[in-house]
Amino acid sequence: MTDAPIIDAEGQPPEAAEERAWTRLQLARHPQRPRTLDLVAAIFDDFAELAGDRAFGDDPAIVGGPALLDGQPVMVIGHQKGTDTESNIRRNFGSPHPEGFRKAQRLMRLADKLGLPLITFLDTAGAFPGPAAEERGQAEAIASSIKLMTGLQVPIVVVVLGEGGSGGALAIGVGDVVLALENSVYSVISPEGASSILWRSREEAPAAAAAMRMTAEDQRRLGVVDLVIPEPGDGAHTDVTATAAAVKAAVVAALRELGEHGTAELLAARYARLRSMGAYLETGAPPGRRAEAPSLRHRLGRILRLPGVPRRARWSDIWPSGTADDESERGA
């Protein structure tokens, strides 16, 4: 690992980078952009949508079920945004509640049981953050989904269609191969969210979008995405048939490649892929930071308050509490 940024802005003026990222984001969010079900209908020969998490309810923001890909049975799961106001309200604009992720888990287990390769489509601004979602364990639902995918004994191909929004995307986005449409985006937090937290204003979303390097091509350079699928014309919405064909070709190629490996090999490679994510510097450990066990003399000295017996070294002397908590630094 090096100290240098993986992605260099290459001396481009920040405005240009902002505009590029912002244009992609608008295409990723385009109201006519093909959604999961549009592509599923075009790519697969048959698709039986299954419903319900068997615990609480059904979440229309996530769809899934078995399908046939050129005659081969597979399992398909994806986020589903609406196409108009009415369907967007029903599908909560593609932002799942915990029951959506638990439905996905149920389908993943079924895929595992029957040995069906899993294909997932990411298109969400993020998991829904409301009180009902918290009450039903949104974080737990995402965490256990991620965990299930890391150990699933079937090949997983992930396709980022539109917005890959944070944990809600990753919950069905852990794969052996991650493909992304050219104008899709992937980020740890929405640019609006990053703007309001880091810039303390919602106006800086374009700057945040550029700073987070959220375009598909940037994500490929970071190693989060393996392959970028080119979009036809001025974006996927201008030719859904061509988009579906391109996605299908990439998925079929990825599955063919993955099919050549045994389960153990597949799981080892998936683990290695996740383990390699991130950039850090490994320097030598700073010397001699160790709080010793107290000697008898120390312990007696402390109890009897003998003069000249220094207090034994404690870890809190090495890493003490500050006087004030700084609330200004936040995570996502």
């Binding site: 944990g167 990053a194 987070m212 970071l222 107290p294």
Partner: protein, 331 residues
């Protein structure tokens, strides 16, 4: 404003006391230290540094830090109103830490554990590549040494300045937990104030046992993000430790004074699974399991069911363990 104390000639600096955010009592810092940073008048749990947490939980002198040399870099060249490296440097100076997590091996009441501890003061305890890598190594060490893993979290979530690389730490820290499951090694999550976002949406929600400190803020989305998105005010206390307990997402809310004893008790009650040869034999598949059965029952049975049992010695006692190569699950 400096305060003069009648019993001391020293001028006390203004950081001699801390105002309790809950009951507004003025608590002397020396007293806070002695009371494990719990307000003596109302029981409010102040946040702890990593050093204080080690002294609280681990046997004196038992902790050995691992991977102290890991340092964050700036993979995106991230710049908001300050460059990311500047924020890192400011946090390093403020806390004396290299990043938001320290991990190491130590013991709790004699039970050896691999433990990772967050400090919220380091960039909001946010999880970037270094925190994720350290946690993955913590879990992998627990796996190799067959000792329980514990993580004490205090984090706002993923570190935005590392973009999706920090999002990927959710998966990186979660993947080893599958291996701990397979190996029969317990993982205990201790959620302290605050534990939110990507940290809660990964390993912190996946403890075999999950403990929380009283009144700790624990939730997926920050209340501000939530009310911005949903467009309504969030109900009071909907992301507290007690709320999670009521909804079945944590096992117990444990006051700090009882935390070490509770962990010690859990470590006693939830030991690392012994290496179970029978179960390993089962994992080899039906034929292998049958041959294992034949080994145990002796040669007569193996003849009956027609499986050649090399290890069968006629009385089923004193069998030598199979070489480790044979104990792998089938690929």
């Amino acid at each position: 404003m400096p305060i003069k104390f009648p019993f001391s000639r020293r001028v006390a600096p203004s950081d001699t006391w801390t105002k309790c955010p809950s009951c507004e009592a003025q608590v002397f810092n020396r007293q806070l230290e002695r009371s494990q940073r719990v307000c003596p008048s109302c029981g409010h749990h102040f946040r702890m540094s990593i050093g204080e947490r080690i002294d609280l939980l681990l046997d004196p002198g038992s902790f050995e830090e691992r991977d102290a040399g890991l340092e964050s870099v700036d993979p995106l060249g991230f710049h908001d109103d300050r460059p990311y490296p500047d924020r890192l440097e400011a946090s390093r100076i403020k806390t004396g830490l290299r990043d938001a997590l320290v991990w190491g091996v130590g013991s709790i009441a004699g039970h050896r554990v691999a433990i990772g501890i967050f400090d919220f003061r380091f960039m909001g305890g946010s999880m970037g590549s270094v925190v994720g890598e350290k946690l993955a190594r913590c879990f992998e060490t627990a796996l190799v040494e067959r000792i329980p893993a514990i993580v004490v979290s205090a984090s706002g979530g993923a570190r935005m300045q590392e973009g999706t690389l920090s999002l990927m730490q959710l998966a990186k820290t979660t993947a080893p937990l599958v291996r701990l499951d397979d190996a029969g090694i317990p993982f205990i999550a201790v959620l302290t104030d605050p534990t939110t976002g990507g940290v809660l949406a990964s390993f912190a929600s996946l403890g075999d046992v999950i403990l929380a400190e009283p009144k700790a803020l624990i939730g997926f989305a920050g209340a501000r993000v939530a009310s911005d998105t949903v467009g309504e005010e969030m109900p009071e206390g909907f992301q507290s430790a007690e709320f999670l307990l009521a909804h079945g997402f944590v096992d117990a809310v444990v006051p700090r004074a009882e935390l070490r004893a509770t962990l010690a008790r859990l470590l006693r009650l939830l030991p690392v699974a012994p290496i179970d040869e029978e179960a390993d034999a089962d994992r080899r598949g039906p034929i292998a399991a049958l041959s294992g059965l034949a080994e145990r029952l002796g040669g007569a049975v193996s003849e009956t069911i027609g499986i050649d049992s090399e290890a069968g010695n006629g009385n089923g006692v004193g069998r030598t363990p199979a070489p480790s190569a044979e104990r792998r699950p089938p690929s």
